[in-house]
Structures are given as structure tokens and as C-alpha cells.
């Protein structure tokens, strides 16, 4: 049974790594230009359907752009947004959480109140409002998804820090005259990381889905750049006449996110079973 558990996680890992590799190699691997459009090739079906051609294995979209190429380049966007936003949120959250947990008092109060306000804010409304101000674009979407996600990391980091604050090794380090920053960096942070890695993994999955939702509402990476969410959005008016437009990006998201979730499950079992399960 354990072997099966590891087996499943391995498959997940392979899927994720393969996506990342394909994404990086997209310019070399993609059969066609994902952005240049050609009206004459519009809406050709996948090659196993009548009317399809080997030049476009998974068909073309409403502007004649090759679906396979757009999927490959879209992987870049989804993975970059997913990881970057989580890294940003994680860094911000850990920093704030460490500080709040270590120093406590007023600072802690303030930070936690801010976190509560942030959480009570309907996430999508915040995203819509901010993106309307700064405009959509890869950087801005990463910024919005990153800056709004710090709270969970902050809380975990804070909890861990608070419980570690009074432990012996920290006390002795302080007695020896070590500076706060050094203590946080050397002693506290390594303990904070394992539960965070688990949370972060699941966050990447959720962020990829969040980016797709933003694109669905018209706020994601603007055209003509391919992103899986935008492809889904373009395909939604062609569900019956061009079903391949919505199916393949959906399967791509499903595949990658599934892989990440499976890896995250495994990580959680391995690293820190104490973390609230199923986050």
C-alpha cells in the first residue's frame, strides 16, 4: 500500500516535471507560432476528426492558431504565475509571520488584524478592482495573486515562531548575544519551512486555477498571449461547434493541478503530518 502511495506521488511528480520541461522547451518543441493568426485555418478540428490535419494535431482555435503550440506556451504562463505568486506570497507571509510571532505585542496584533481584514475581503473582488487600476498583464496578475495570498503563510510562520520563541536553543542563542535577525534566519526559519512547503504546494495548484478563473472573467493575461484560462474563455462560446477549444486546456489544467495535489499529499505525509489536513 505504501508502495502504491509512493507510486502515485511519483506519477504526479513526473507529470509536473514534464509540464515544466515542456514549458521551458516550448519554443523548440511547439509545431507552430502560438500568436500569429491565420483566418484561413480557423477552427480546424483535431487530426483524428474529419477535416483535421496532421499539421495541427489538436486542431486550431477561432483565429487559426495551433492548439498544441498554445497549450505549450500556455504552460509557461500557468506555471510561472503559479510558482511566482506563491513565492511572493510565501516570502511576504513568512517575513510578516516571523516578525509577528517573534516580537509579539502591538506588532503582532496589527498584523493579525490586517490578515483578518484581508481574509474577509472577497478575493475575486479585490483582484478585479486592483487589476482594473493597474491593468492586466503577467506581472500584475502575479502581483495581485501573490500579495493577496500572504495570510496563510503568515499564520503558520507566526504559530511556529511563537512556539519556538521560548525554546531552549533560541534562549541560549539570545543569551550568547546573537542578533534577532540571525536567530530568526538560523534557528526559527528551518523549522517553519516544512509545513509551509506543504501549504505552498497546494497553493500553487490553487493559484493556477485562480489564474484560469481570472481569465474566465476577462481579467487574466490579455490576448494574444496564450494562457490556459484565456483559452478556456475563448472556447466557451464554441462548446458545441468547437469543443476541442475548451476541452484540451481544461484537461491540461486538470492534469497539472492533479499532479501537484498528489505530490502535495505525499509531501504532507512525509514532512509534517501535524499540518491541518486537506488544506
Amino acid at each position: 500500500m505504501r508502495v502504491r502511495r509512493h507510486g502515485v506521488a511519483l506519477v504526479g511528480l513526473i507529470v509536473v516535471v514534464a509540464s515544466a520541461v515542456l514549458a521551458v522547451l516550448a519554443p523548440a518543441v511547439a509545431p507552430d507560432d502560438p500568436v500569429r493568426n491565420d483566418l484561413l485555418e480557423r477552427l480546424t478540428p483535431p487530426m483524428w476528426i474529419e477535416g483535421g490535419s496532421g499539421r495541427h494535431p489538436l486542431g486550431t482555435d477561432t483565429l487559426g492558431r495551433d492548439v498544441v503550440s498554445r497549450l505549450l506556451y500556455g504552460a509557461r504562463v500557468s506555471l510561472v504565475v503559479g510558482f511566482s505568486a506563491v513565492v511572493l506570497a510565501g516570502a511576504l507571509g513568512v517575513l510578516l509571520g516571523l516578525v509577528a510571532g517573534y516580537y509579539g505585542g502591538r506588532l503582532d496584533d496589527l498584523l493579525m488584524r490586517a490578515g483578518d481584514v484581508q481574509l474577509a475581503f472577497p478575493a475575486l473582488v479585490l483582484a478585479i478592482a486592483v487589476l482594473a487600476v493597474v491593468g492586466s498583464g503577467l506581472g500584475n496578475v502575479v502581483l495581485v495573486l501573490g500579495v493577496t495570498g500572504w495570510v496563510t503563510y503568515a499564520r503558520i510562520a507566526r504559530a511556529e515562531t511563537m512556539s519556538l520563541r521560548h525554546r531552549e536553543f533560541v534562549e541560549s542563542a539570545r543569551a550568547l548575544g546573537a542578533r534577532d535577525a540571525a536567530i530568526l534566519w538560523r534557528h526559527v526559519l528551518p523549522n517553519v519551512v516544512p509545513p509551509l512547503v506543504v501549504v505552498a504546494t497546494f497553493s500553487v495548484a490553487r493559484t493556477i486555477i485562480a489564474e484560469a478563473s481570472l481569465s474566465f472573467l476577462g481579467l487574466g493575461i490579455p490576448p494574444p498571449a496564450p494562457s490556459w484560462g484565456a483559452m478556456l474563455d475563448e472556447g466557451r462560446n464554441y462548446l458545441t461547434t468547437g469543443w476541442w477549444l475548451a476541452l484540451f486546456p481544461g484537461l491540461a489544467i486538470l492534469g497539472v493541478v492533479l499532479g501537484i495535489n498528489v505530490v502535495g499529499d505525499w509531501l504532507r505525509d512525509a514532512l509534517d503530518p501535524r499540518v491541518e489536513r486537506g488544506i
Binding site: D116, A120, F121, P122, S213, F216, V257, L258
Partner: protein, 311 residues
């Protein structure tokens, strides 16, 4: 207990005030709604005149103070587009449409997982266990609107209109949107219950209860579930907030005439009063639910209440 409650209430009010203030200034940064209310052939003077008409040319702090004065009385101003009281509009859209949807989704995603999670945990590695884990994994890995579109394709288009693809009004209309909204939280909760039950079932007091000869069902539902429920409740409270956000997307896909659709139009339309009123309602609901969850947790697990949790 009373001090605890009071403290939590004050905290709740603060959070709502914080959210509403952030929104107030944030939306005013998104730009000028006056340009949207006039024709394409308008001139700058006409737009300036519209701004004056709507009271938008007053200094920001004056607008804010007026807002703080009027809001507690329920007066969030008139919608810039519909010229009707904004709070009334928000409540109209929330009740019954979004309330029905959210309620149905909450019921589905909290009630259904309990038997599923329990069975999965007690009959570990059985069919239900594997099926529910696989299903949960899948449901949590897809965007909700994609699930919605696929369901529309299957039930409304494919099976010849078995279920309606749009609109509200009857129970039949509620099924697809509620199921779509509930899918991811349901999946998450099944895994949570299962995991919590698994952990708890190993503990000493469970073995003690069994040794005492208590019926299996009492052991499982009486003791184990009660303790497994604690983390499940914590996450549920947060989930609800995300569910309210989720209605925005689901209502768009299913043409459900609720608060989500109103927001999706109000934000690009820069309808400040409506946005403020809607966010206020969301925040109040979120905070209220979390308060209830906290109290439930305290009742279920006395240990949880001892330390001040700012969660």
C-alpha cells in the same frame, strides 16, 4: 464566556470596518465612473457635469466621512447606474438568489462528506475510500467554471435539456449551479473528515471506549467524529469566504441572477455605492460565519478555547 464573545464582536466590527474602508478608497482609484454614464459622443464638460451630479467631485475625505455617517443607517447611497438605493439592490440580489445557492452548496458540502468520510475512514482501502479519494482529488483539481461548462454540456445540451442551462426559480434550476459550487469544498471536506477520523480512531480514548464495550456506532459518531470535526470546522469557516467568492464565477456561468453577477458588472462599471454595499455584505457574512464556527469549536472541543486564537 461573555468577555470572549464581546471581544470577538468588537473584533468583527473592526474587520468589517477595515474591509469597507479599503474598498472605499480602492474603487475610487479605479477611475472615473462618469465617463461610463455618458454617450461616446460626450464632451469633457458633460462628463464633468455628470461627476458633479453624482457628488464625485467632492474631496475624498468629505465623501468618506459622509459614507461613515450614512452607512450604519443602511444608507450606502444610490447606485450610479440604476439610481436606486445601493443596499436595497444588493439585498435584492442576495436574497433569495445567492442565499439559496450558497445555502444549497453549504449543505451539500458539509452534510454529504460526513457519511462519506466516515465510511472511507472506517473501511480503509475499501471501494468507497478509493473512489472518494480519487473523486476528491479530481474535483479539487479543476476550475469550477470548467466543471460548470462541462455539466451544462452534459445535462443541458447533451441529455436534451434534462436540467436547465440558465436562470433560477425552481429546484431543478438550482441543481447544476449548487453542485458545481459545492464540488471543490465537498471534495476537500471528505478528505478532511477521513483524515481526522483516521487520526482520532487510533487514540487511546477510542480504544478505551471500545474496551468499555460501547457500540461501534457510538464510538465513531459520538466520540471520534466530535474530535475530528474540529479541524474540519476551522477550514470550513475559511471555505465559506471562498465560496462566497466562488458564487461570482458560478453565477456568471449559469446566468444565476445573484450578488455575484451584480458585482461582476458593478466593478468594471465603477458603480461605487453598489460595490461598497456588496463588499460590506460579504464581509459581514464572512465574519459572522467565522464567529459561529469559533463558538461551535469551543463547544465541541473545550481545549481549543483556552488560548486566544486570532483565527
Amino acid at each position: 464566556m461573555r468577555a470572549f464573545l464581546l471581544r470577538r464582536l468588537v473584533h468583527a466590527v473592526f474587520v468589517v470596518w477595515g474591509v469597507v474602508t479599503v474598498v472605499f478608497f480602492l474603487v475610487r482609484l479605479t477611475g472615473d465612473p462618469a465617463a461610463l454614464l455618458v454617450d461616446q459622443t460626450a464632451t469633457r464638460e458633460e462628463i464633468a457635469r455628470t461627476r458633479t451630479l453624482l457628488g464625485l467631485d467632492r474631496p475624498l475625505h468629505v465623501q468618506y466621512l459622509d459614507f461613515l455617517r450614512d452607512a450604519p443607517r443602511g444608507d450606502f447611497g444610490l447606485s450610479l447606474r440604476e439610481r436606486r438605493p445601493a443596499m436595497r439592490m444588493v439585498l435584492e440580489h442576495f436574497w433569495p438568489a445567492t442565499a439559496q445557492l450558497a445555502f444549497a452548496a453549504i449543505v451539500l458540502s458539509t452534510v454529504l462528506p460526513i457519511p462519506l468520510g466516515v465510511v472511507a475512514a472506517t473501511r480503509r482501502d475499501g471501494l468507497v475510500d478509493h473512489a472518494s479519494r480519487l473523486g476528491s482529488l479530481f474535483l479539487q483539481s479543476m476550475p469550477s467554471f470548467w466543471l460548470g461548462l462541462m455539466l451544462i454540456l452534459l445535462f443541458a445540451v447533451g441529455l436534451g435539456g434534462l436540467l436547465p442551462a440558465y436562470g433560477s426559480g425552481t429546484l431543478r434550476h438550482l441543481i447544476l449551479p449548487a453542485v458545481t459550487l459545492a464540488a471543490a469544498p465537498l471534495a476537500q471536506n471528505v478528505r478532511l473528515i477521513r483524515a481526522g477520523m483516521l487520526e482520532v480512531l487510533q487514540h487511546d480514548y477510542v480504544r478505551t471506549a471500545r474496551a468499555k464495550g460501547l457500540g461501534e456506532r457510538r464510538v465513531v459518531y459520538g466520540h471520534a467524529l466530535r474530535n475530528a470535526a474540529v479541524p474540519f470546522l476551522t477550514v470550513s469557516g475559511l471555505s465559506l469566504g471562498f465560496m462566497l467568492s466562488g458564487t461570482i464565477v458560478i453565477e456568471t456561468v449559469f446566468s444565476w441572477p445573484g450578488l455575484g453577477r451584480l458585482i461582476v458588472q458593478a466593478v468594471p462599471g465603477r458603480d461605487f455605492p453598489v460595490i461598497q454595499a456588496a463588499v460590506f455584505v460579504f464581509a459581514v457574512l464572512f465574519v459572522a460565519v467565522n464567529l459561529v464556527v469559533d463558538l461551535l469549536q469551543g463547544w465541541l472541543d473545550p481545549r481549543a478555547r483556552v488560548f486566544e486564537r486570532s483565527a
